[in-house]
């Protein structure tokens, strides 16, 4: 108590010391707070970027000797050894943050209108429309061209009724050209194809020839497909042919001219046949198995193994049937059972989509490079990936076709097709549904949380996916799914700024050009971000220096004055312990009081300024989003301000201040206790 009373007897000095300590402690608190805030800011800025490495899709032609046979094939440059190395990278290379594998599964969604490239102006390509290219029509045959050698028949037929055709195609107004391939005489006889006969035809590889030609002509003249008019065909090509002959060019297959705005372009006989028509192929896939499987043994010998009934039934499809009654009667008869089953399968297929499961959507090339962007809603959260929540992202085109929006729910029942096989590691189409295999899961509801747009719809490049693709968290796929180590199925995430290290690393192992690297422009600002932090670090160091300077001054001006008091106390018989306690009490009481105030002041000032700045940031300042790519909830950073403010800093500063002062004063106190009282009382300065 006496020590405290002593303080009150020197109110001005005590007050000045407290104020100085408070101010210096506050400055220190704010300096540390600013440094920490800058650290968080830089981490935040850096987290905007993701650096990825994608395995190459390059292939090399290889030849393999099996016995005395030579088999040529195209193999990926990624050998099994390289694959093993890739799989070990997460554990062996500190620059690798993780490897992400996407899974592929097909999903049936009842009532979903799927997309075909025919629905997109100037993008039609029949090969992109799998598995929706099966079709069934009632037709009347107009002509037959039978080639017994190849066991094929080219048929031109008039369509009477369209029974099974993806809704994205317009039924042709003219003819259906199909090539019927049969595998046995019985099959040919059963078909009993005749001109003017009415048939039910089920085929694959449907091509809208009219649409393809329109697209071709639109492309030639750089006009809209809607402007292509078949009335602009000129069949009088005499002048054109004469002109060609004058230039010694072969007239080739020119049959007519399409004319537009004083320009013309040639049309062949095949082109003319394509007008208002479609084509497809008709054959029973099971026929390939009738002769059995061909097995090549390691010694090069070839063996034919008979296919089982199950295998044959699983892939059997109807082809062509003569209709003696109306089609409904036929389909409901015993004879029509195979047809009914096939129709049901393909109705399911036409409402099925490819589903890609992912653990980090932004690691996929198209999203990473902004070729696919989320235009509505948001991406998956970490929790959703972790828990496998039933949420999904769909394309803008799919949303438009189905009148879906963020927040809607769609049912998905996962399945795999019979003996399904992906030809490419990009643009995976949904499998054709097989009733033999059935569904892998029950139908489950998935909430749409985001809608994405692709800048090149129906692109066919190494990392693309079709607009039918639905994205889900990997863990929400609760059945076996397909995956791979290339293409869209595999991405490695690297630490930002580590591309050069990674390139050097793979070169030292002899694995050059195995990976393509992309960092979203991080390397352009990496140095700047590093400098930003180092600038703040210097300020922190100088801030600590100023605090130390105040501490030293306080010690010199206040603490050392207690030397005389200590001398007096010791000479009056106070005892060293009591004297030391007095010194400590009278100084530390100031320090503790000042430290507490400086901590509170520092935190509240920094905290209220951060609150003010960031609350204005989130409500504000027109980020001008005109023409901007992503204008979704993801755009506005939701910041955790407690991380920025970090109240622990104030406590830390107060505690450090108390501890440092305690230590210094303790040491000083002990040093003066060793001296004689008279020496202590001598004041050299006065």
């Amino acid at each position: 108590m006496n020590s405290l009373k002593q303080l009150l007897r020197q109110p001005t000095q005590s007050m000045i010391c407290i104020i100085m300590l408070v101010l210096s402690g506050t400055v220190l608190c704010m300096s540390i707070g600013l440094y920490y805030s800058a650290n968080v800011t830089i981490k935040e800025a850096g987290s905007v970027y993701t650096t990825i490495a994608l395995p190459t899709n390059r292939t090399v032609k290889t030849q393999e000797m099996v016995g005395d046979r030579v088999f040529e094939s195209e193999q990926s440059v990624i050998t099994s050894e390289i694959r093993e190395w890739m799989n070990s990278l997460t554990d062996t290379n500190p620059e690798v943050k993780g490897a992400y594998q996407q899974q592929f599964i097909s999903a049936y969604s009842e009532g979903l209108h799927t997309l075909v490239s025919a629905m997109e102006e100037s993008n039609y390509s029949h090969s992109k429309d799998e598995p929706y290219r099966d079709a069934a029509f009632v037709v009347t045959i107009e002509s037959l061209d039978h080639d017994k050698t190849s066991q094929t028949v080219d048929v031109a037929a008039k369509i009477k009724e369209s029974l099974l055709l993806h809704e994205g195609y317009m039924p042709p107004e003219g003819s259906l050209h199909f090539t019927y391939r049969y595998f046995s005489e019985n099959e040919w006889n059963d078909a009993s194809l005749e001109i003017d006969g009415t048939y039910l035809v089920f085929g694959q590889n449907y091509v809208d020839s009219d649409l393809a030609l329109r697209q071709d002509i639109a492309e030639r003249f750089k006009i809209s497909m809607n402007e292509v008019d078949w009335n602009n065909i000129n069949y009088d090509i005499e002048d054109f042919v004469t002109d060609l002959k004058e230039h010694d060019f072969d007239i080739g297959n020119v049959a007519a001219l399409y004319e537009y705005n004083e320009k013309s372009s040639t049309l062949s006989i095949t082109d003319l046949e394509s007008i208002r028509s479609a084509r497809m192929s008709v054959q029973n896939p099971a026929s390939f198995l009738m002769g059995g499987h061909t097995v090549i043994h390691s010694d090069g010998t070839v063996e034919t193994v008979a296919a089982t009934d199950g295998e044959i039934n699983a892939v059997t499809l109807p082809t062509i049937a003569r209709l003696m009654t109306d089609v409904d009667t036929f389909l409901s008869s015993e004879e029509g059972k195979l047809w009914r089953d096939a129709f049901k399968q393909y109705e399911i297929t036409n409402q099925s989509v490819p589903v890609l499961g992912t653990d980090l959507l932004e690691s996929m090339f198209e999203f990473h490079q902004n070729r696919a962007i989320i235009t509505s809603g948001r991406s998956f959260t970490k929790d959703e990936y972790k828990s496998g929540n039933r949420v999904c992202l769909i394309s803008e085109s799919l949303a438009l076709a189905n009148d879906l929006k963020v927040g809607d729910v769609i049912p998905l029942a996962f399945y795999q097709g019979y003996d399904s096989y992906l030809e490419k590691n990009y643009n995976p189409p949904a499998d054709q549904y097989s009733s033999v295999v059935g569904f892998s899961t029950e139908s489950e509801s998935f909430e749409i949380i985001g809608i994405y747009r692709q800048s090149n719809l129906w692109a066919d490049t190494s990392y693309t996916f079709t607009p039918n693709t639905i994205f889900v968290p990997n863990k929400s796929i609760t059945c076996e799914a397909y995956t791979d180590n290339t293409g869209i199925f595999y991405t490695i995430i690297l630490k930002n700024g580590s591309i050069d290290k990674m390139k050097t690393y793979q070169e030292t192992l002899g694995y050059q050009d195995i990976f393509y690297f992309y960092d979203q422009g991080y390397s352009q600002i990496e140095d700047t971000l590093t400098d930003y932090l180092s600038t703040t670090r210097v300020m922190l160091i100088i801030g600590i220096t100023t605090w130390i300077a105040v501490l030293v001054l306080f010690h010199a001006l206040y603490v050392t004055k207690l030397k005389q008091t200590a001398g007096m106390m010791l000479s009056l018989g106070s005892g060293r312990k009591n004297t030391l306690i007095h010194i400590l009490t009278s100084t530390l009481s100031l320090v503790i009081f000042a430290s507490a105030i400086s901590g509170i002041l520092g935190y509240s000032m920094l905290g209220s300024i951060i609150d003010y700045v960031y609350s204005n940031a989130s409500t504000h300042e027109s980020i001008n989003t005109t023409f901007s790519a992503a204008i979704t909830s993801d755009t506005n950073l939701v910041r955790d301000l407690t991380v920025q403010k970090l109240p622990q800093i104030a406590v830390f500063v107060a505690v450090v201040q108390i501890l440092v002062f305690t230590f210094v004063i303790w040491i000083y106190g002990h040093s003066i206790m060793k001296k004689r009282p008279l020496k202590l009382m001598r004041n050299k300065e006065n």
């Binding site: 100037s122 040639t266 980020i623 300065e685």
Partner: protein, 422 residues
Amino acid sequence: MFIVEYAINRMKRGRKGCIALMMLTFSFVLYLCILNNTLEKKEHQLDDIYQNLDVECVVSNLRGTQTDNLYIKDYIVSLFLSDESTFLGKKDVIPFSSYVKNLKFKLNLKYQYLVEGQEVFISNLRDADDLIGLTHLSTDSLIAQESNAITYFENYSESLFLSDESVCIVSADIFQTLSKDKEGNCYVRLAVGDSAYSEDIFAEQRFKVVGTYEGDNRNIYCPWEIIKALSIKITGMIHTDSLSFSIKNNRQIDIFKELLARYFTNVDITGTLTDYEASNVLTYYEYAITVYDGTLNKTVSSIKDNIKVLEILQPVIIMMSFFIGFLSSFLFVRNRKPEFAVMRSLGTKKGMVFGEAFFEQFFLGIIGTALGLIVYYMSYHFEIRPPWDNIVAFLLCYLLGSGVVIFWIVNVKVMAILKEKE
């Protein structure tokens, strides 16, 4: 002289205190310099980010689903290539093209090989192969995939596409079929046409083959400048099938977006046509554009806010520094009260006492300040000039502190000071 001599002797006797005070002024002057330096550097670093980060803009169809094969017309292309631009009859003070950089173009024309003496003619323009002129490989989806599999000859690299040299790359399989001259160089002579424009007008072009890409595709790739010249020869106009670019000065994104709104519309998945009111020729906008500024906005927003925190805190910290300067000198001088009393009781005049004490404080302050500035110069060479106003203000506060207390002490009765029980 007495003042100076006394002050020096005084400082020698009270070394610890003087060093502590000098250290305080030194550290606070340095802190003020670093604080100012930090703020200015952060602004520069933000400028660096604005400068270095590319914001890409991509022209697309109205639905935003196609960025290639757009056949973008001359009136759009010329915006980016011309040194002047006008809008609604008025010439822009700053032309449109000055806002953009890293232009990426691509144009497809048709070609047919010509042999010596053959007339420049393409018999079947429709089925002819593609001559693709581009500025960057990334503009063509086929060749972009093969970018690692391109072999450039001699001293050529991807930068050839930015030149105006008449060179090209062909597929490896096609290259095998071409003949070479005595020096081992391979040339192709082509008739070039544009099926969209006319089936009768052709131009001739000779290319030196300077690279190959894997595969058997019949596309030939050449620099954009060459195909641009060919397009002008054939059609009189310049078109492009795809167009993307970066914004030159990201600080002017908002201004540039206003300019873009003159010629492009927003992407609309429904493909709804937007009235083009500013045009006398076109009824609707023909093209949409997307600006990929999300990354820039996310990067700079957090940094901007962090800088703002420092900007607001800076005057607070400066004020605190002034107070500390004031109080430290106040406290330092106040401790010498008995000494001043003795001086005055021995006959020293008030003015002399004030002068000596003030000179001592001034001296310590100046030395500390000078040391702070020297260290700052050694570290940063005054790249960012010190905040002289703040330093002077700090020094003044420091001197004010000591001035006030000295003035007060010299005006208090000597006996009262000597009688104090402190």
